[in-house]
């Protein structure tokens, strides 16, 4: 209890408990709020209870400094400030045991049939299905088309049969239960059955949406309602096209080459460059020179649109053809076409200047040109040894499949089944005569690669996709660069869709049309994604019922649609795209590709070729306000909607709790997705210019005095090498050494300096290497045939619920970055307004 009598004589400041007399804010604060030591106490039981609650909250939320409001806000956003290592491993932890137990108990009825099913061998069924499919496509194509028609008729019947909500629920439970059993089984048959279930569930949903829920008030409500249903129809269409494209992957083997090398074709290797530094170009050219191919049948060319003297000198030094032209018309496509006029090889291999091929590239790909005389294109995956902005800023490198791995892991392999593999601009081989037949590389669009492949297919040529990483390169460094690249793809694909629509015109099979259409339509996802990110706001803000149905009815239709599609997608793509990541990737790009794709549809000839910067470094972590502005706005809107929704839930709309809850849940999901997008916009620091690639091979370290250490490498880059030791060695920084690596049965020594000395590792920095040394170094590292073969091994398998949890965590982390950056920005602004001189200094 206070003792006001003792303080009566002292000044007002003391009386009020003002700590800093010169601060008016302090005076104002203390006028209304007592200092902590004068706090009047509640009755004891309430005191104890609040104290216990406060302590519990601090413990559970993990508030760092309970005295600071900021820490409470951060903690309330569920952000744990765990060390980065701990966050990296958090995903491997199983969910809380109580939840797991509950889940297992729920699924108990399924355990008996699932054990029965485990004893069945489904592989013969798979083989029979494959034989039948091959027979149909090769000998009875009409039968194939009849079956497609039958599927469409059956699906229409299933989709349009009216059911009561209860019957619809039972249907869903049956399909869901069967799917949970089926997903345990390997092979194509269960996949196709699951695809069937998903098609039924989604088509029923769309049919119901179109026929039962569009009784809307005229005005904004109709606009939003129809917008939403249009976006949903788009996703449904994409879903169907994707199932056609992805459900059956070809997994094409490598076609062996004849033993007689005189029958091998001659190859021109084109390395295209514009303004990339020589240090990026060098390894690619050196690796191209080390390709395992007869010397007299290999011609490496540098196609330099930058017409730079140092590149010309380098080309002369290593003895490769240097090709330039007098203009830069049609950017890369024009450059390649000009290159074709200066060379005469049977085949043309195309590499971007930062895609380093491995030595076996040609031997793994060229076989298909000899086996199939109509084959015009063999594409291999693009592999990246540096993290893209998502991987770097979220810390998911090597753990969560990146954005590109879905395309190269599943989509291209599915395309290949339908002879619809796209050319991806790099890491591919093309047949010269076929290119000449179609008039060279296509120059009309920004995505000359896919357009060229489309032309080849129209002219009846075949293509092949060999799913072995036979080259690797740098990913785009920063988020703006990444977005610019995707914008270019999206625009180019939209242009192609307008100018040379795959659904129209001669020469393509039905399935080739579907594969191309999906590849292009897929890039129109920006607008629908924005619709989904804002749709619940219509109700939360204005009480528009843009889906005119009871919440429970919506649930029995939409949940089967989402869950079935999610389960199939996880099965087909799980190794290459974790569940819910597509939404995260799309959310980041949505705003930026929505406008360009729409514009390109309307006015396809607008647009400029854009090249993304590579090989830079980010000296200080920062939050990219410019890029993330749309997401900050969307987040603010969704948060506001959520708060209003709470009001509707508790006070204003208590008669339709279900509707409010549904919209709230949707908003929460959106808020987390947007949070993940904000997390990506927070650029993490990147200190190394040269990226380190893990590599474990035996090596020998030679010291100047002739001593040696047999050791194992841990990682390498173009500039240095890490070595693992089992015990410390006597050496010092800057000591000169030679490091010996082997390529096949040959050994190569490279002069180096010791840069770091650790207890169990040494860091080496290569000394001045001659060109020959550099070529050997590339051959021993980047260009090893097995360099990237097990690159996917470390990636964790997809577990949908864990993945959802992870996205939500990234969402929370994104908000932490947002809050911290806002505080930083605010303090900076405040300080600047108070004392401009100190900031300038």
């Amino acid at each position: 209890m206070s003792e006001p009598a003792r303080r009566r004589s002292s000044s007002w400041a003391d009386r009020l408990g003002v700590a800093d007399r010169r601060n008016p804010a302090d005076w104002l604060w203390r006028l209304f709020v007592l200092p902590p030591d004068q706090r009047r106490r509640w009755p004891l039981p309430i005191e104890l209870l609040t104290e216990a609650l406060r302590a519990a909250a601090i413990r559970v939320l993990g508030v760092r400094q309970p005295g600071r409001l900021r820490d409470w806000i951060l903690a309330a956003l569920l952000v744990r400030s765990a060390p980065p290592a701990a966050t990296a491993h958090a995903a491997e932890k199983t969910p809380t045991s109580l939840l797991t137990l509950l889940w297992r108990w729920l699924l108990l009825p399924l355990s008996i049939p699932s054990h029965q099913l485990d004893r069945v061998d489904f592989r013969p069924a798979d083989r029979r299905l494959e034989t039948f499919a091959r027979y149909t496509t090769e000998h009875r194509p009409t039968l194939g088309y009849l079956m497609v028609a039958a599927v469409i008729v059956l699906l229409s019947i299933c989709a349009t049969t009216p059911l009561t909500p209860l019957a619809q629920l039972v249907l869903f439970l049956l399909m869901w239960g069967s799917t949970l059993l089926l997903r345990r089984l390997p092979g194509k048959v269960p996949t196709l059955v699951m695809v069937g279930f998903s098609l039924v569930a989604s088509s029923r949903y769309i049919w119901w949406r179109l026929t039962q829920t569009l009784d809307l008030e005229p005005g904004l409500e109709s606009v939003m309602g129809i917008g939403l249903v249009a976006a949903e129809c788009y996703t449904w269409l994409i879903l169907i096209l994707r199932y056609v494209q992805d459900s059956w992957q070809l997994n094409r083997p490598v076609a062996p080459l004849p033993a007689d090398t005189t029958r091998w074709p001659t190859v021109d290797v084109f390395v295209t460059t514009y303004d990339e530094p020589l240090s990026v170009l060098k390894p690619t050219v050196l690796a191209a020179l080390s390709l395992d191919w007869p010397r007299n049948k290999l011609n490496v060319c540098v196609l330099d649109d930058g017409r730079r003297e140092d590149v010309r000198r380098f080309a002369a030094e290593v003895g490769v053809q240097y090709i330039i032209r007098s203009n830069n018309f049609h950017a890369k496509a024009g450059n390649l076409n000009h290159g074709m006029t200066e060379t005469r090889g049977d085949l043309v291999a195309v590499f971007d200047c930062d895609h380093i091929p491995v030595r076996s590239f040609l031997q793994m790909t060229v076989g298909w040109f000899l086996r199939d005389p109509k084959c015009a294109l063999v594409q291999t995956p693009h592999h990246f040894f540096s993290p893209d902005p998502f991987e770097r800023n979220l810390g998911t490198f090597h753990r969560v499949p990146n954005e590109g791995s879905l395309f190269y892991g599943v989509i291209q392999d599915g395309n290949d089944l339908w002879n619809a593999t796209f050319f991806c601009g790099s890491c591919a081989v093309l047949r010269r005569t076929a290119l000449q037949d179609i008039g060279g590389f296509a120059v009309e669009t920004l995505t000359e690669d896919a357009h060229t492949a489309l032309r080849l297919h129209r002219h009846g040529y075949t293509s092949a996709y060999v799913k072995l990483p036979q080259a690797a390169g740098l990913a785009t460094e920063t988020l703006p660069g990444h977005i610019r690249q995707r914008m270019r793809w999206a625009r180019g694909m939209a242009q192609t869709f307008r100018l040379d629509n795959p659904l129209l015109g001669k020469g393509l099979t039905l399935f080739q049309r579907i594969c191309y259409a999906n590849a292009m339509l897929h890039f129109f996802n920006g607008l629908p994604r924005l619709v989904f990110l804002t749709a619940p706001l219509g109700y939360l803000f204005f009480e528009y019922h843009i889906i005119n149905a009871w919440a429970t009815t919506i649930a029995v239709y939409v949940l089967p649609h989402l869950i079935q599609a999610g389960l199939v997608t996880s099965r087909i793509q799980g190794k290459y795209r974790h569940s819910f990541w597509a939404e995260a990737y799309e959310s980041v790009l949505a705003w930026y590709i929505a406008l360009p794709t729409t514009l390109a549809l309307i006015k396809p000839d607008a647009g400029r070729f854009d090249i993304t910067a590579k090989g830079g470094l980010i000296e200080k972590g920062y939050f990219d306000w410019k890029i993330s502005l749309p997401y900050v706005v969307l987040t603010a809107l969704n948060t506001l909607g959520f708060l209003i929704g709470l009001g509707r839930l508790l006070f204003w709309n208590t008669y339709e709790t279900g509707t409010v809850l549904m919209n709230l849940a949707w908003t929460i999901y959106n808020i987390f997705m947007l949070g993940a997008a904000l997390g990506v916009a927070s650029e993490a620091r990147q200190v190394r210019v040269a990226h380190r690639v893990p590599l474990r091979v035996p090596a020998t370290l030679y010291f100047e005095d002739g001593r040696t250490i047999a050791c194992t490498t841990s990682d390498y880059s173009g500039r240095g090498l890490g070595i693992e030791l089992d015990a410390p060695v006597e050496t010092s920084a800057d000591a000169r050494v030679q490091i010996v690596l082997s390529r096949g049965d040959r050994e190569f020594a490279f002069p180096a300096l010791i840069s770091t000395v650790g207890a169990d590792r040494l860091g080496l920095r290569f000394a001045q290497l001659s060109l020959r040394d550099e070529q050997n170094l590339v051959a021993c590292t980047f260009a090893r045939a097995d360099a990237w073969l097990d690159a996917d091994e470390a990636v964790a398998r997809d577990r949908p619920l864990v993945s959802l949890g992870e996205i939500m965590r990234f969402g929370a982390i994104g908000y932490r970055h947002l809050v911290v950056s806002s505080f930083a920005l605010l303090t900076q602004r405040l300080r600047a307004s108070r004392d401009p001189a100190s900031v300038a200094a």
Binding site: R707, T708, I709, A710, F748
Partner: protein, 242 residues
């Protein structure tokens, strides 16, 4: 007992040092080993821990009626050594009986799983020829240099039981890696893939009178010789060449 003769057509290929190191490696793998010095230079015992050159040995056994076992030594690692012994008269008296070495070796009483390594003088010489005839496996030791490549043509005709090894390989020298490639093309499968690298650890350990496996356990040469010893044991016990 299985015997391996280490021979070479050029001098300075490092036979004696290699024989000693291999003997240590085989002993460390748990098998009994006998290192036989058939080189009048009489240096092998010095490489295996002896302080002074052995005064008597194989050479004396040729003239004496006693078993050669009488002249054998054993070092602290358990490697048994049959030195050549001090001589002043060269090796001309060995040419009288072309099977003298084989007879002597057969008289040595040792466990059946013993591996005997014979260090020989440079080819051509009668002692080296006797060692080749007596051995279950001949290991030709070469340096990756031009002289070795030139000498390959003058090899004895019967090389069915022969393998070739590159010793003192220095990958920091371009010429050596090139000659290595040439030798590989010339010899094919008979050239062992495992090479023994040049490494100061070996001469240093001999100078320090210590076993290289204790002196520099993490050096490249020790790893090379350990692997090589394993391969040779497999070859002689299986009785089939790769």
């Amino acid at each position: 007992m299985k015997t391996i003769a280490l021979v070479s057509g050029t001098g300075g290929s490092g036979r004696t040092t290699l024989t000693a190191a291999l003997a240590c490696a085989i002993r460390r793998s748990g098998r009994p080993v006998l290192a036989v010095d058939a080189d009048p230079a009489n240096l092998l015992a010095l490489h295996l821990g002896a302080i002074e050159p052995a005064p008597t040995g194989l050479d004396a056994a040729l003239l004496a009626p006693a078993s050669a076992s009488a002249y054998a030594l054993e070092n602290s690692d358990g490697v048994r050594i049959l030195p050549f012994g001090g001589t002043s008269g060269g090796d001309s008296h060995w040419s009288a009986d072309p099977h003298a070495l084989r007879t002597l070796l057969q008289s040595v009483e040792l466990p059946d799983d013993t591996i005997a390594l014979i260090d020989t003088p440079r080819l051509p010489s009668s002692l080296a020829a006797q060692a080749l005839a007596a051995a279950d496996l001949s290991l030709f030791v070469w340096r990756a240099d031009c002289a070795s490549y030139a000498r390959l043509g003058a090899l004895p005709a019967d090389t069915a039981r022969a393998l070739h090894l590159i010793n003192q390989m220095d990958p920091t020298r371009r010429l050596q890696t090139d000659v290595h490639s040439l030798l590989r093309a010339r010899l094919g499968k008979r050239l062992l893939e495992q090479v023994v690298h040049r490494d100061e650890a070996l001469p240093e350990s001999i100078a320090a009178n210590r076993n290289p496996f204790d002196y520099a356990p993490r050096s490249r040469v020790v790893q090379d010789i350990t692997t090589l010893a394993q391969q040779l044991i497999e070859v002689v016990t299986a009785g089939a060449l790769p």
